[in-house]
Symmetry: C2
Subunit: 305 residues, 2 copies
């Protein structure tokens, strides 16, 4: 079997594996028309998933919170992710799992419980949230004026596609010539940005927000690396003024790892380059990948196929 | 040309007209993966659009606010809507227009400005937000504990698919045996529900929230009808306690018109049936349809086709 048609990415939709170009959902799917959908993204580096179990745990938490339950169980989902990567032939990949509300079984119903929930999965060539050259010089981060949606309205620990506030922050950032943005909640506390958690470093201590944020797997890795490296770290409320007075700032995401910043709003950090603790954590994060930390090798396609 | 394949609905996607069953978007479209999309819905009754210009005005406002601009101009969009309805052969229809961010022209870009925005449209058989039998007895409305997303985070006058808070309210309502829910903002003021505006009636005066709500076209129609009928009406802040002490409550939406309620939370309104002012407005709303109020006849398919 040729896998050439999967070179741009391989997907699983409606129970079938297809090239990514053929992976679609109906325009009437509530995953689209109500953004009634949860997802997760795990990365593959050098043919190994990173922290696959953590991503599957979080995906299950998200599905449970929104009462979305596709027919595939956890073992089936895991096998589908492996197969998407293997079909794509990619050694480095961005691998998505998506659970959508779907459409009502009963024509005309507007009840979520009447819908056929379904799973979508796909492996794509790796794309960093922040381009590599920008990561080298350090990201320029805008302090968005759009407030983050409150946790009570939309739980940020349930990974979702409702990015309007984050996209507003991104549009602000691009208008001002910045790479990306971080948002604050209505009380002025730091939250997160479009696709990443944020960390600040002050007097040698690393902090990340306790609110308005996804419980990121890279964020978790950073906290573990801090413990290993003897760097003080905390998950805590961070008033907006603290990021403006930080010694260093860095971002953390599955699609890019640890990404240092060099400018925050109008302020230049240090010597306008990534700071030393940020770089140390970035280096450790990738070094631990090479050592096989939390690694699950991608299963090859069966010989029979 | 046979239109039989369009009987379940007709759609326009990627520049082509297709049966609704073939109308899809890529799973990687940002309209899905970031809910970076705006839409509007107009209804057709007896082969006539209702307030089509008002819906097109609002759709243009939504697109402008989110900087989404498909290649089709207003006249083209209008012609596409007419053609979807004509192809479907439906005399009563629910007609959607959707503008999605699309996908980046530049591989790997994460910038909204790099995307090819695109238009989706479709006509479906009419579906009321509240089933007709429920409308007859009056809707049972749950007072949701989930707070509405604040206007500052996501502008509710930009019609969007980010329904998580509304869906949470709906799940609460169904758990409690109610038909649907209304939400309150963090300050306790009444906002709207999943797919409709809400009105209260107290001592003969009709009120609807000035915040946390879409500027509904049916809401606008109700306010105009109140003026015609000599009923006092206001758009104003409505504290949560006011809906609990209302004489009547009704909902307003394109997909159902004026829909009276008979129960609010644990409270039974009047004689557990729709109230007199609600019914008067409902009757006037449909009577004015029959008189051709704000009506645009659906253009027939060309004879040549």
């Amino acid at each position: 079997m040729s896998t050439s048609s999967y070179a741009d990415g391989a997907a699983y939709v409606r129970g079938r594996f297809v090239p990514i170009a053929e992976a679609t959902i109906p325009v009437t799917d509530w995953g689209f028309t109500r953004s009634d959908v949860v997802y997760d993204v795990v990365h593959v580096v050098k043919n190994g998933f990173f922290r696959l179990d953590d991503h599957l745990d979080r995906f299950e938490h998200s599905m449970q919170q929104r009462r979305i339950r596709p027919p595939e169980d956890r073992a089936a989902i895991e096998a589908i992710l492996h197969r998407c990567v293997a079909l794509s032939g990619l050694s480095d990949a961005y691998v998505a799992m998506v659970a959508s509300r779907g459409r009502p079984r009963v024509a005309g119903s507007r009840r979520p419980a009447d819908c056929d929930n379904h799973l979508i999965a796909y492996a794509l060539p790796w794309i960093d949230v922040i381009p590599k050259d920008v990561q080298e010089r350090g990201a320029h981060i805008w302090l968005a004026s759009t407030p983050r949606v409150p946790d009570a309205s939309v739980d940020p620990t349930v990974k979702n596609y409702q990015w309007s506030d984050l996209t507003s922050g991104l549009l602000e950032a691009h208008d001002e010539g910045f790479d990306t943005a971080v948002l604050f909640d209505a009380q002025g506390f730091l939250t997160e940005g479009p696709g990443f958690n944020v960390f600040i470093v002050k007097d040698g201590k690393v902090s990340t927000p306790d609110r308005g944020s996804l419980h990121g797997i890279t964020r978790k890795s950073v906290l573990e690396l801090c413990a290993e490296l003897g760097i003080e770290a905390a998950v805590e409320p961070i008033p907006g003024t603290d990021i403006e007075h930080a010694d260093e700032v860095f971002l953390a995401t599955t699609a890019g790892g640890v990404m240092p910043a060099s400018r925050i709003g109008g302020r230049i950090l240090g010597n306008d380059r990534p700071g030393p603790i940020s770089l140390k954590l970035k280096q450790a994060y990738w070094a631990r990948h090479d050592e096989g930390w939390h690694r699950t090798p991608v299963r090859p396609l069966e010989a029979a196929e």
